[in-house]
């Protein structure tokens, strides 16, 4: 319905609080984009700027190539869903859903038809006469969705809409939401701090931190090739291993005093960007760390085990005091066991100590 473009958008609160800094983002028509980051990273501010509630201090926001910086929220045709649901407590469910249409002065019978249609779609038809306070969290969120959908918006804006729901209902509504978005084909910007939610919903994820964009890519690329240490440590559950290491004169990686010889192509990559004899950060996901009783790269000591059902997450102490997370079949290993860690070296990334991706 609409393509949204943010061009070097900056938002400053007060005199010098940079909520968002030089953010450029292209959200394609019908795309589902998730803004992901810890609290205070500027994701909600960005959403509010797209909605028109805040005006950017600098930069431009385009809807289909037209600058909308000074367009009022009511003229942007966006549908918004909030973490708190933000239903109007004094109105019935029917009146809540009908509110945006009444504002548009739509004829009453047309309003009725559309409210019923949307209520049917979201399975809340039998709740129409109730007040929001008489609904469960999941039902309230369905009503909030209905209110956003009924006006047939060109953009959906969602601010942590599932955060207040129970885990079970959250997964249920998550699937429903994704299905609905694809079916209606409405460009969607979704804000969350939950990386699992971001991974499961997004076509593309924009990872933000401290007001700046860290990486903007598909969930798969963000998971496999994080652009910097912030993204590497923020994405993934259990979290990735971020290990301080040294590279010696021959291109070997030294972790906690243990020398690991990388494969030839990695060594040549290390040589080509002049990394010999330098301090770096090595990134490896727990699923790429194998354990073996007999041989591997580093000998460690199992320090703690998290049972996860399908697998167990091992926390393994290595020489030099570091802890590395690895996966193993559940109930196969006990605390205190000494075993070897083997890294899938073709999956590792190397970062500069300041955070940028090198290899």
């Amino acid at each position: 319905m609409v393509e949204i473009k943010l061009e070097k958008v900056t938002k400053i609160f007060g005199k010098s609080v940079y909520a968002v800094k030089d953010l450029s983002l292209l959200i394609r028509d019908k795309e589902f984009v998730v803004l992901l980051g810890p609290s205070g990273c500027g994701k909600t501010t960005t959403l509010y700027m797209i909605a028109g509630i805040y005006k950017p201090t600098k930069g431009n926001i385009y809807f289909d190539g037209r600058i909308v910086n000074d367009v009022d929220p009511k003229d942007r045709n966006v549908g918004m869903v909030f973490q708190s649901y933000a239903l109007y407590p004094h109105m019935s469910v029917y009146d809540n859903i009908a509110f945006p249409l009444k504002i548009k002065k739509m004829p009453a019978n047309e309003i009725r038809k559309r409210v019923l249609e949307v209520a049917e779609m979201l399975r809340i038809k039998e709740l129409l006469d109730r007040k929001p306070s008489q609904l469960s969290g999941g039902q309230q969120q369905r009503v909030a969705l209905a209110r956003a959908i009924v006006k047939e918006p060109s953009v959906f804006l969602m601010d942590e809409p599932l955060s207040n729901l129970d885990a079970k209902i959250r997964v249920e509504i998550r699937a429903e939401l994704k299905n609905l978005q694809k079916r209606l084909g409405i460009t969607t910007v979704y804000v969350t701090h939950d990386q699992g939610e971001a991974m499961s919903l997004a076509d593309r994820i924009a990872v933000m931190n401290a007001g700046t964009l860290q990486q903007y890519d598909t969930p798969d690329n963000i998971y496999r090739n994080p652009m910097n240490i912030f993204v590497a440590s923020f994405i993934g559950s259990p979290p990735a291993n971020i290990i301080e290491a040294t590279i010696d004169g021959e291109g070997n990686i030294i972790i906690g005093g243990t020398k690991i010889k990388p494969p030839e192509d990695l060594i040549s990559a290390i040589r080509s960007i002049d990394l010999l004899n330098s301090e770096v950060i090595v990134f490896i996901r727990p699923e790429d760390v194998e354990v073996d009783p007999n041989n591997g790269h580093i000998l460690g000591n199992v320090y703690s085990i998290e049972y996860q059902g399908r697998e167990a997450v091992l926390h393994i102490e290595i020489p030099g005091g570091g802890v590395i997370r690895g996966l193993a079949p559940p109930n196969s290993i006990s605390v205190g066991t000494r075993l070897w860690l083997r890294f899938h070296l073709e999956k590792i990334h190397i970062y500069r100590k300041s955070g940028e991706l090198l290899i």
Binding site: G79, M80, L87, Y88, P89, F99, S133, R147
Partner: protein, 278 residues
């Protein structure tokens, strides 16, 4: 121990309540008393003015004391006028102070509160000259304006508190839904602070109903008197002769306040809590 202390507490509470109620009991007994100066006998003749409008049968006194029906209407006009204008203005001013970035908001709010603390009596001369220059001396409208101005600070604070308790999300939702700021205020915000409006309306009604000082200073002709003024006149001139009549009139003056308090109790309690629930 728990049982003993609860009995003790109850005794204390009942004693305190009795002390508070004693004057009302005496007033009521006196109002129904046949003897004009002490509690003796029973009659409801003292309340005859409610039907006739006349406090005294003697026509000479009618020159001094206006028709009670007229006085009641005056009192009602003052109470409703103050209540209406204060609610109207504070519900708007409170919204602005709660939601907009008003320059020097903190100073302004402090000033509003300080205004509320100024004793009315030191403003009387100023009010007198102000109203005289506007030609509103000896006019109930002038009293309503003066009283409204004096009560507005409290009203604005109370309303601001109620607006503050409404989450921003609800207002943003309405704005995104296409309602402008004005319509959001009227359709979403105002209905949500209805308990606050009710509470303030009752408080201000009672405040206007009980006003004495401004009437005493700014009104000369007895056709614009309110009940408080009539009672004060009676006490001054007939205090030792017609106590039972004064008591009856006082009771008549008090009853609407009592009824209002009982009806509005649940709203008034919310003022101190300052919040609403969705």
């Amino acid at each position: 121990m728990g049982r003993f202390s609860s009995i003790l507490l109850n005794i204390v509470a009942i004693t305190v309540a009795l002390i508070g109620m004693a004057p009302f009991a005496l007033l009521t007994l006196l109002a129904f008393s046949r003897n004009p100066t002490s509690i003796e006998g029973f009659t409801h003749e003292n309340f005859a003015f409610i039907w006739t409008g006349k406090l005294f049968a003697d026509p000479r006194y009618l020159q001094i004391y206006p028709d009670i029906h007229l006085v009641t209407l005056n009192t009602l006009a003052l109470a409703l006028g103050v209540s209406g204008v204060v609610v109207l203005l504070s519900s708007m001013a409170g919204y602005i102070l709660s939601r907009y970035s008003v320059p020097a908001r903190g100073t302004l709010l402090g000033l509003i509160l300080a205004l509320h603390g100024i004793p009315v009596i030191i403003l009387l001369i100023g009010l007198y000259f102000l109203l005289r220059s506007m030609g509103l001396i000896n006019n109930l409208l002038g009293v309503i304006m003066a009283k409204t101005t004096l009560d507005l600070p409290l009203g604005i604070w109370v309303m601001k508190g109620f607006y503050d308790s409404i989450p921003w999300d609800i207002e943003i939702a309405s704005i995104v839904d296409g309602a402008g700021r004005l319509r959001t205020w009227a359709k979403v915000m105002l209905p949500l602070i209805r308990p606050g409006i009710a509470a303030l309306a009752v408080l201000e009604f009672i405040s206007g109903w009980g006003e004495f000082l401004l009437i005493y200073t700014l009104i000369f002709s007895n056709t614009s008197w309110t009940l408080s003024m009539v009672i004060r006149g009676l006490i001054g001139e007939m205090g030792s002769i017609n106590l039972n009549l004064i008591a009856a009139l006082s009771l008549y003056y008090f009853i609407p306040v009592l009824i209002f308090f009982i009806l509005a109790q649940k709203y008034l309690l919310k003022v101190s809590l300052g919040g609403i629930r969705g």
